[in-house]
Amino acid sequence: MRDEDVIEISEPELTAAERLYLPQIFDGLKTTVRHMFDLKRRKEIVHQYPEDTRQGRGTLRVSNYRGVHRLNKDPDGRVACVACFMCSTACPVHCIHIEAGESPWPDREKYPVKFEIDELRCIYCGMCEEACPCDAIELTPHYELVGRTREEMIFDKEKLLQIYEETKHIKPRKNPPITDYGLTGGQSRDVAQPNVERKV
């Protein structure tokens, strides 16, 4: 830092009327009073929850709102997760706990025996959704979570799959690249087209 790098800034000078503060106060009062009597704008902005919600008004963007998680099922009804642990590694607060097991299906090596997310610890950042290679974990637009105990809010695999059943019509499942973006009909590429040479 050289001396010539330093720029001296002094506070701006006020005019005589400004130094009395009264003109600015009147100006401020004009704004405040204008907002006070603007009923139309108030009615337009304010949601009288729970009668009037963002979903009801249609201002909630379903495609990317980060609400509660769900575990997607593929078209065969199997859980789409392959227990690769990418989501629990990506999670900044370590709220995802997975236990992997050998999968009973031929096109996958592993499947999650236990998949638990502590919804109270979660910060709803969506890193797990971004990290998942199979688009198995997704954040739904449902945000009205209520529980009576902390244990109740640790969602296990069954609960997350149930959320999928409840929200799949609101937010349909994304088709992951491993299924060629849906073209294979839900099977992974290696099973559907086994002898094709791929660069990736």
């Binding site: 000078e13 130094r19 405040t32 603007d38 009205e144």
Partner: protein
């Protein structure tokens, strides 16, 4: 999602029928009771001693109720200025909110920490609230009344006509400082102590411009009695705000500071000192501090309306109800007075959400370097007018105010720094 019974109860509480219907019913019931009991208290009403006692009882109830309603009023106005509605869940327009808040304060756990100075800790909120309510004794609500069954007997709606009216109010306001100082001291907590000391310094400092401005007014009116000041304004039709706007401004700013209201609420601002002097207080004691602040607000508003805005006089340049002592005129005058006080309270609350807070040194500089010199200048000017014998003419007073304003502007134009000082004026941080 929500239990349907709960929803039904909530909708019932929110319905305008319940609020206005219930309120209307209760009012009608009160009227019926008053009508039926009328023969028993008829002679009390025209009694020159008992009528002010009745006025005192009624007004105390009214003031305490309005202090509670101020809680709702404040939140509604805060909401409206911020493009949202205030509380509207508890009753229609949130009208049952004070009830809910009162219940909450009563049912909350009242904690008295072990490290506090007990007697003073318990005394402070009582002092803060009690002293603020004393000021209503001298406010002339509706002038004099002559009841039709007792002709020739005039009873006053002022609780007590003190011959040192304004001085009484100033002294009561000064005792109010004790409540805050004791709260800060008794909390046995560095930050509360700071808050208490700052609040005390602020309140005491701003009593000076208040006193000086009131002196200017006093020299013009020639009397300290509030009801005579109101009568002068009602009779001549010229309200003192038109005659002496600069003292009104000084009294207004000082009232903000006395009530610890934004922009002077440094002592209780959350960002500054956690809770300031009321950090250690919970539940009802905390509520009493806030009720005391609102009572101070209402007293200050009533005071300013009486001094500058003609009290119960309906319109500025007429003397319409001045000599009318009928009972219906009394009610009309009371309504007008209360309406003006409500407008002032609205203005106080509006300013809270308009202007940012003053820093403590800016506050002090504003008082001692701006308001006190202006007050002294005005006082000298009005004294000159009295010496010349022109103090009863409105043009002389208005001219003096304009002259002082011009001198202020000229003086303000000479230097470049704002009146509240710059950051660089503060003492340097020790290395």
């Amino acid at each position: 999602m929500i239990d349907p019974t709960v929803r039904r109860i909530e909708n019932l509480l929110r319905s305008p029928l319940l609020i206005f219907g219930g309120g209307g019913l209760l009012t009608a019931l009160a009227f019926v009771v008053l009508w039926l009991l009328f023969p028993f208290y008829r002679d009390l009403l025209s009694h020159p001693f008992w009528f002010p006692v009745i006025v005192m009882a009624v007004m105390l109830t009214l003031i305490l109720t309005s202090t509670a309603v101020c809680i709702l009023f404040e939140r509604k106005i805060a909401g409206f200025t911020q493009d949202r509605f205030g509380p509207n869940r508890v009753g229609f327009w949130g009208l049952l909110q004070p009830l809910a808040d009162g219940l909450k304060f009563l049912l909350k756990e009242d904690i008295t920490p072990r490290h506090v100075d007990r007697p003073l800790f318990l005394l402070a909120p009582a002092l803060a609230l009690g002293v603020s309510l004393l000021g209503f004794a001298i406010i002339p609500w509706a002038g004099e009344v002559e009841w039709p069954w007792a002709p020739g007997v005039r009873v006053s709606t002022q609780v007590f006509s003190l011959n040192i009216g304004i001085l009484y109010l100033l002294s009561v306001g000064a005792v109010g400082v004790y409540g805050i100082v004791l709260a800060g001291y008794a909390s046995n907590n560095k930050y509360s102590f700071f808050g208490g000391m700052r609040a005390a310094a602020q309140m005491i400092s701003y009593e000076l411009p208040l006193g000086l401005a009131l002196l200017c007014l006093l020299l013009t009116t020639g009397t300290l009695r509030l009801e005579e000041i109101v009568e002068q304004q009602a009779r001549s039709g010229i309200w003192y705000v038109f005659m002496q706007p600069l003292p009104f401004l000084l009294v207004l700013v000082s009232s903000f500071a006395e009530a610890n209201r934004t922009p002077f609420d440094l002592a209780e601002a959350e960002q500054e000192l956690v809770g300031g002097f009321h950090t250690e207080y919970s539940s009802m004691k905390f509520a009493m501090f806030f009720l005391g602040e609102y009572a101070h607000l209402v007293t200050g508003s009533a005071f300013m309306v009486a001094l500058f805005f003609g009290g119960w006089a309906p319109l500025p340049f007429t003397s319409w109800l001045a000599d009318n002592v009928a009972w219906w005129a009394m009610l009309l005058k009371l309504g007008i007075y209360l309406g003006k006080v409500a407008l002032f309270i609205w203005f106080f609350m509006l300013i809270r959400w308009t202007i940012p807070r003053f820093r403590f040194d800016q506050l002090m500089r504003l008082c001692w370097l701006s308001l006190v010199p202006v007050g002294i200048g005005l006082l000298i000017g009005v004294a000159l007018l009295v010496a010349l014998g022109w103090h009863r003419h409105w043009w002389a007073n208005l001219g003096l105010n304009l002259l002082v304003l011009l001198i202020m502007l000229w003086y303000a134009g000479r230097s470049k720094t704002p009146v509240t000082g710059r950051q660089s004026d503060l003492p340097p941080v020790p290395a």
